[in-house]
């Protein structure tokens, strides 16, 4: 006997639509009287409503609930008039913190409305915290509320083993780990060749979707590797230059330092390019990345010379060359486009 009265906690996830649709399907299964079916859509808000950020969350939750209610009516089709849809924001009167608080809030709601089962979205993630599903299921077990995990197809984060792009990831990961294994081992020794292939196979299967955020391409990725190897001598040269300059400053008895915080808006994509740029900036003594929020870097610079170098953006151009090619490297310096400024310490 399927559940007629279900509770569906919602969050903005890639699978929320499918979860709602699964909830409607199970509740309406086996030709039941649609009048008995109750679908309660709830959004848990982790902040108290009177805080300003809480207000945002409430508005956000309301819009999500409206959309979800429309989905339910859409999925229910001809039954949509007879079944009951309730929408509710829970947790706006209290401070929901961990999975236990969420489970308690859901249990209280389910008790109040006499609901039988919770349909969980596998990607359920209220607030901005870590994945919630497993701890939440454990806590729901503790409070004795039945739950059912919606079978959804996830496309974005959990790709299926074989899909578009996953084959090239698998292959690239295999090559990289096999190459690394043979570099450490002996490429002429059969035992190493066999064990290396086994290890690389395991690594490729288990880690390929973690390693690459975008699938590697046949031409682009090797090209980037080649450009990266061109970048390394340049980076080492920059490091030596900066090292000498900073060494002179430190060894001068008067120590003419002029430390300042600067903000530089980098023209590189978040992820690996930004990591490469921030790492290179930190590697050169005299500049130190304190924060990296998307394209905005907060850089602490020790001397005026180091700061000028940073504002000239030579490293940024080099990183752009590595990831986007030669044409992209010819860009205005951060100073020219007004993306560089000195800021006070209170803006950290």
């Amino acid at each position: 006997m399927a559940d007629r009265r279900v509770l569906v906690p919602l969050s903005e996830s890639v699978t929320v639509r499918q979860t709602v649709s699964y909830a409607v399907q199970t509740a309406l299964a086996d030709d039941v009287d649609p009048a008995e079916v109750q679908i309660h859509l709830v959004v848990a808000v982790p902040y108290e409503a009177d805080l300003p950020e809480g207000q945002d969350k409430i508005e956000f939750a309301t819009s999500l609930l409206e959309r979800a209610a429309a989905w339910v009516r859409e999925d229910a089709g001809s039954h949509s008039h007879s079944l009951t849809i309730e929408t509710e924001i829970v947790g706006d009167q209290e401070y929901l913190f961990g999975p236990r608080d969420y489970a308690k809030a859901f249990a209280a709601y389910a008790d109040e409305h006499d609901l039988e089962c919770v349909i969980l979205d596998p990607e359920y993630q209220p607030g901005a915290t870590a994945p919630m599903l497993q701890p939440l299921e454990r806590e729901l077990d503790r409070v004795g509320l039945r739950y059912d995990e919606a079978p959804v197809e996830r496309s974005a984060r959990h790709e299926r083993l074989v899909g578009p792009g996953s084959r090239s990831r698998l292959f690239a990961m295999f090559l990289i780990s096999y190459g690394f294994y043979l570099t450490l081992g002996d490429p002429t020794y059969t035992f190493d060749l066999v064990t290396g292939a086994a290890v690389a196979g395991i690594v490729a299967v288990t880690l390929s979707h973690v390693t690459f955020t975008t699938a590697p391409t046949l031409v682009g990725s090797p090209l980037r590797v080649v450009r990266f190897t061109l970048y390394i001598p340049y980076l080492i040269w920059e490091i030596i230059r900066a090292n000498l300059a900073i060494s002179l400053v430190i060894l001068r008895p008067s120590m003419p330092i002029d430390p300042k915080l600067t903000r530089v808006n980098a023209r590189v994509r978040s992820g690996l390019p930004l990591l490469a740029l921030a790492n290179s900036i930190t590697l050169t003594p005299g500049t130190l990345t304190v924060r990296a929020n998307n394209q905005q870097l907060i850089v602490h610079s020790l001397t005026q010379v180091a700061r000028d170098d940073l504002f000239e953006g030579s490293l940024e151009r080099a990183v752009r060359f590595v990831f986007y090619g030669r044409e992209a490297a010819a860009t205005a310096t951060p100073k020219e486009r007004g993306d560089a400024e000195v800021i006070g310490g209170e803006e950290l």
Binding site: L251, M255, P259, L288, G345
Partner: protein, 117 residues
């Protein structure tokens, strides 16, 4: 002839590596605050360890262990800025404001002298 050049290249690299490590130690002692010290702490890893590892690679000659040395250097170059950034970031999260010479005028000068002593 080549052996002599190699020998002296190794000596020069080791001495330079020691020099940069020494400068880095001096910098950690002399510079005023956590951010400024992070700058110079990275010198030990980049050029200090870099030169020393280059000397090791030269001394070992062409063999497997040389590749390990190069790989070691590669990983140092990845981990060092990560650690420096982590320290600076946690300092920023804790709310430590960077030391600036203008802000506290004369006191800044005396602070520097205090570090000199």
């Amino acid at each position: 002839m080549i052996e002599t050049i190699r020998f002296w290249a190794i000596v020069v690299l080791v001495v330079l590596g020691l020099f940069f490590t020494f400068v880095s130690a001096v910098g950690v002692l002399r510079l005023p605050d956590v951010y400024a010290r992070s700058h110079t702490a990275s010198q030990t890893d980049t050029l200090g360890a870099g030169m020393a590892l280059a000397a090791v690679a030269l001394a070992l000659g062409w063999q497997n262990a040389t590749i390990y040395t190069v790989l070691l250097l590669f990983f140092v170059f990845i981990t060092n800025p990560t650690a420096a950034h982590a320290i600076a970031r946690s300092a920023a999260e804790t709310g430590i404001e960077p030391w600036t010479p203008e802000e506290d005028g004369n006191t800044g000068q005396s602070q520097t002298e205090g570090e000199n002593r």
